[in-house]
């Protein structure tokens, strides 16, 4: 499977926020979900994931808490905050606008 698709850092943060909207997840689960939801097209390396998570924490868009997983392991779970949701909405709107603009351009030109 292809490893890291070379996502721009901002985009990775947006994707993480997106997967966290449905439920709180720990780091491994986030990587898994990103992989599944992208139909196994995307795979995030730990080297990119953790800096992105730290950045989200610093920005205040996610919160983290330690919890016991179903397998009895101590895991650190991330939960999106209200300001994180606002940020995600803004970024998704922005992304859609840019994406469709690029799409039109590629189709029409």
């Amino acid at each position: 499977m292809p490893r890291d698709a070379g996502l721009p850092p901002g985009t990775l943060m947006m994707l993480v926020l997106r997967v966290l909207t449905t439920q709180p997840l720990h780091g491994y689960a986030i990587a898994q979900r990103l992989h599944q939801l992208s139909r196994e097209e995307l795979s995030v390396e730990e080297g990119s994931l953790y800096p992105a998570l730290q950045k989200l924490l610093v920005k205040g868009w996610v919160r983290a808490a330690w919890r016991e997983s179903e397998s009895g392991r101590q895991v650190r779970e991330y939960r999106i905050t209200a300001s994180g949701r606002r940020q995600l909405d803004a970024e998704m709107a922005e992304y859609r606008r840019t994406a469709s603009a690029i799409g039109w351009l590629l189709d029409e030109a």
Binding site: H26, G27, Y28, Y50, P51, V58, K59, G60, R76
Partner: protein, 861 residues
């Protein structure tokens, strides 16, 4: 909100880094454990570092790392580090100390509310500013009524009194001030009140305000002091208030009495006038207003017609005398600091050259240039901060120490010199600047250096840029040092010039005591002269005394008086000739050592009632009776002499400089003090005692002799005649000393700089020298090569320095005496000293070069 919250969170990460990192580690371990192939998880240490960067504190880690590394490198070469730190500490400390002075004297506002609204108001003929700007009494009263720009105006005159009733009689300085004085300054009493209008006209004016210091020292800080009595010059005064601590204006005033300005047709005073402008009025507007008024004055034959208004900010008027010296010191110390920086830059540069291979290795192995540059900067910063911290200590101690060297009476006393937060901030800023300047130097060496060349070249060698920079540094050090040397040389020559002026008397082993009898207790001339005679008698009977005398205006003292002098047989000069009128006791000329050229001295027989006599100075004799013996001629010291006012000349004495070294020999007419009938000429008197041994030993005797005759009088001053003489050159001497100190430090630093350049040049050109010697060059020619290198650098430095010196000498022209700013001898000596120092500094490296063994050198290649 968002950005602030983010910063708070970031700060939280910084403060609890350990815990946060541990959390990251546990999290990553958990992640790894969940993977099917845990090895696929990367290097956790690196991952953690990358994740940590998101907190935004990476630069701090880098800084800490650079600093630690710089610290370790510096610890490995303590001699280098110590030299650099001590040099920087000296430079920064000296600059800080001088800045303390500049700030205290020139920059700190006066300790009065809204001090910028305070002005000294005067009018004068155009031309150089008067030493004591002022207004006549009539002018003051007229202007006070006419002005439209000032909120309040006051005038004052300094005073001095003998205070009794609180311990021994003491002399205290004070001032007589108009009742608006404190309103103008905006100062209120700490206890009681200041003067009000009732203190002015209510007649006796027997009220007094006391300074905080005097109140504490002499009255035990008595809280119930108001309404008590203080006796000044024998007159009881009721205390109405005590002023707040630190207030003393004018000068060192310790008491204030009310002054009522009245117009007296026979006696006019010029007094300083101060005013506070109305809100929103500028100094220019006040000056314009004053000017309109000056022009509206009715024509008065006694007043010059070209008077112009002068409105000077009070602060400027107070510091006018010290402004130039303080600025000169400031400029000099900046030059020293530049030299210091140049020297430390040079040290770092040489270190960079010697570490060339280490750096080249790092670069060749892929180290980043930025890291190397950062490390040099960190080293420069560490050195500067260490130097700056020590320097701040030097500044805090040195500033006040510098003040104590300033001759007394030159600074407005209420401007206390002390270091404060500004001085600290200044030294800190200075350290940062030097850190940047100094740290940047080695970068010149690295940039433009290719690791390949550096690694291949066996010996340490510098790049072309670094060569150029090092030469520029040494040349500028030499040029700046020459400027300082010339400045110091001119000031030293001024002091020597002042010192070699013939005094006309011999000051050794003479003690003086000056008294100032108050008119309140000694209203008549005879009362004063009776005290003088008794005092002289008592002193002459004391042990160890060779002779005693009295004089009203002591040469080089602070008092002098001029007046019309006319000779009976020279009516052509009547009203056109002025001389100083000195009242003396018979033994005066013998005691002070003024030579009698003709005739006889005064004797005990020249009593009141006997024919009045006079002795004239050489210059008076030459002016009034050129080429003739003046003995037996008659002269008068008053305008319209009555028959009894004519004095018969009995002798001629040598000229003396009454007014100080800078003035011309004074035309003087001497009279026996017992024959003087005007009280003004005998109330103030200096007693001189010539002794066998140390003149200071008779000081207590003199004091008790006075107390035995009048226990309510105290000496105004007690000093040896030598001290009186020294005091007149104290100020130029102080200027010369400070500048000499600076220029010697500069000279030392410049010599070290030259030594450094040559030493490294010899090191770098070792193989060249070796080849030359192998080819037959002898030691002399090697030494000549090194010396000519030195002389080339020095010649350029001197050429640039001469231009700077001429400009600097011109700036200090008004501080000079008996020497022109372009004095050839001074310039020649300064250049000679600099050349000498350069050659001395070159000797060691030159000899080292000459002693090189060509075989060893060439084998090492």
């Amino acid at each position: 909100m968002g950005i602030i919250g983010e910063w708070i969170r970031r700060l939280g990460y910084l403060l609890r880094r350990g815990a946060r990192e541990e959390e990251l580690r546990r999290e990553m371990e958990a992640h790894r454990a969940m993977l099917q192939e845990p090895r696929a998880f990367g290097n956790t240490l690196r991952l953690r570092e990358e994740a940590r960067d998101a907190w935004g504190w990476g630069w701090l880690d880098d800084l800490a790392r650079d600093t630690r590394l710089a610290w370790r490198t510096l610890r490995r070469s303590p001699a280098f580090a110590l030299t650099a730190i001590v040099t920087l500490a000296l430079g920064i400390g000296a600059t800080g100390a001088i800045f303390t002075l500049v700030r205290s004297v020139l920059l700190r506002p006066l300790p009065f509310p809204d001090p910028d609204a305070l002005y000294v108001i005067s009018y004068a003929s155009p031309g150089p500013a008067w030493l004591y700007p002022g207004m006549s009494d009539r002018g003051y009263l007229d202007f006070r009524g006419a002005n439209r720009t000032l909120e309040s105006v006051a005038t004052f005159s300094a005073a001095e009194s003998t205070m009794t009733g609180a311990g021994n009689a003491t002399r205290v300085s004070g001032a007589a001030v108009t009742t608006d004085f404190f309103r103008v300054l905006g100062v209120d009493a700490a206890i009681g009140r200041t003067f009000g209008p009732e203190d002015d006209q209510s007649g006796d004016g027997r009220v007094v305000l006391i300074a905080d210091g005097l109140w504490r020292r002499h009255f035990g800080a008595d809280p119930l002091f108001v309404n008590k009595t203080v006796v000044l010059n024998g007159v009881p005064h009721r205390v109405v208030g005590v002023l707040p601590p630190g207030f003393s204006y004018p000068a060192d005033a310790a008491y204030w009495i009310p002054l009522t300005v009245r117009i007296n047709p026979n006696l006019g005073f010029m007094r300083p006038v101060i005013g506070r402008v109305k809100a929103g009025v500028t100094g220019e507007q006040a000056a314009a207003d004053l000017d309109v008024w000056v022009r509206s004055l009715p024509l008065d034959p006694n007043r010059p017609r070209d008077l112009v208004a002068q409105v000077t900010p009070l602060h400027e008027a107070m510091v006018r005398d010290v402004r130039l010296p303080v600025l000169v010191f400031g400029s000099a110390v900046v030059l020293v600091l530049v030299i210091v920086c140049a020297n430390v830059m040079h040290l770092l540069l040489m270190r960079a050259v010697s570490r060339r291979q280490e750096i080249a290795t790092r670069l060749a192995l892929g180290g980043s240039r930025v890291r190397v540059v950062r490390q040099f900067l960190a080293e420069g910063a560490l050195l500067s901060l260490a130097g700056g911290s020590v320097g701040a200590g030097v500044a805090f101690l040195g500033g006040p120490a510098l003040l104590s060297l300033i001759p007394p009476g030159r600074l407005p006393v209420d401007i206390a010199v002390r270091a404060d937060g500004w001085v600290l901030a200044f030294t800190a800023g200075l350290s940062v600047c030097t850190a940047l300047v100094v740290g940047l130097a080695p970068i010149v060496q690295i940039s433009g250096d290719s690791p390949y060349v550096a690694l291949r070249g066996g010996t340490a060698s510098a790049t072309r840029q670094s060569h150029r920079l090092r030469h520029a540094l040494v040349i500028s050090e030499l040029a700046l040092t020459l400027v300082l040397l010339v400045g110091a040389g001119l000031l030293v020559r001024s002091v020597i010039g002042l010192r070699s002026v013939p005094l006309g008397f011999t000051p050794g082993r003479v003690m003086t005591m000056t008294i100032d009898l108050p008119v309140t207790r000694y209203p008549k001339a005879e009362q004063a002269t009776t005290l003088h005679s008794r005092l002289l008698q008592s002193l002459s009977a004391s042990p160890g005394v060779l002779s005693v005398a009295a004089v009203n205006w002591l040469p080089l003292g602070d008092m002098v008086s001029w007046g019309d002098v006319q000779a009976e047989d020279r009516p052509d000069l009547a009203g056109k000739y002025n001389a100083t009128k000195v009242a003396v006791s018979p033994d005066y000329f013998r005691t002070i050592g003024i030579r009698l050229l003709r005739g006889r001295p005064f004797t005990e027989a020249d009593l009141p009632g006997r024919p009045p006599v006079a002795i004239v100075s050489e210059s008076v004799a030459r002016r009034l009776w050129p080429g003739v013996d003046p003995s037996g001629r008659r002269m008068a010291l008053v305008d319209r002499p009555k028959p009894e006012d004519w004095l018969t000349v009995v002798g001629v004495v040598e000229d003396v400089r009454q007014g100080g070294f800078r003035s011309a020999p004074t035309h003087a007419v001497y009279q026996p003090y017992v024959q003087v009938t005007n009280r003004y000429f005998v109330g103030y008197m200096t007693f001189l005692v010539r002794t066998h041994g140390d003149p200071l030993q008779v000081a207590p005797t003199m004091r008790t002799a006075l107390a035995r005759i009048d226990e309510d009088e105290a000496p105004r001053s007690l000093a040896t005649l030598e001290t009186v003489v020294d005091r007149t050159v104290a100020e130029p001497q102080f200027h010369a000393r400070v500048l000499t100190l600076f220029s010697l430090v500069a000279l030392l630093l410049a010599a070290i700089g030259i030594y450094g350049v040559l030493a490294s040049a010899v090191l770098e050109r070792r193989s060249e020298i070796g080849v030359r010697m192998a080819l037959g060059a002898d030691r002399t020619s090697v030494i000549r090569m090194i010396l000519s290198h030195t002389l080339r650098l020095t010649a350029i430095g001197i050429t640039i320095g001469l231009a700077g010196s001429l400009a600097a000498a011109d700036a200090i022209a008004s501080l000079l005496f008996g020497v022109t700013p372009t004095d050839t001898a001074t310039f020649v000596i300064a250049v000679g000293v600099l050349l000498g120092a350069a050659v001395v500094a070159a000797v060691v490296p030159a000899r080292r070069a000459a002693r090189l063994d060509p075989i060893t050198v060439l084998r090492a290649e």
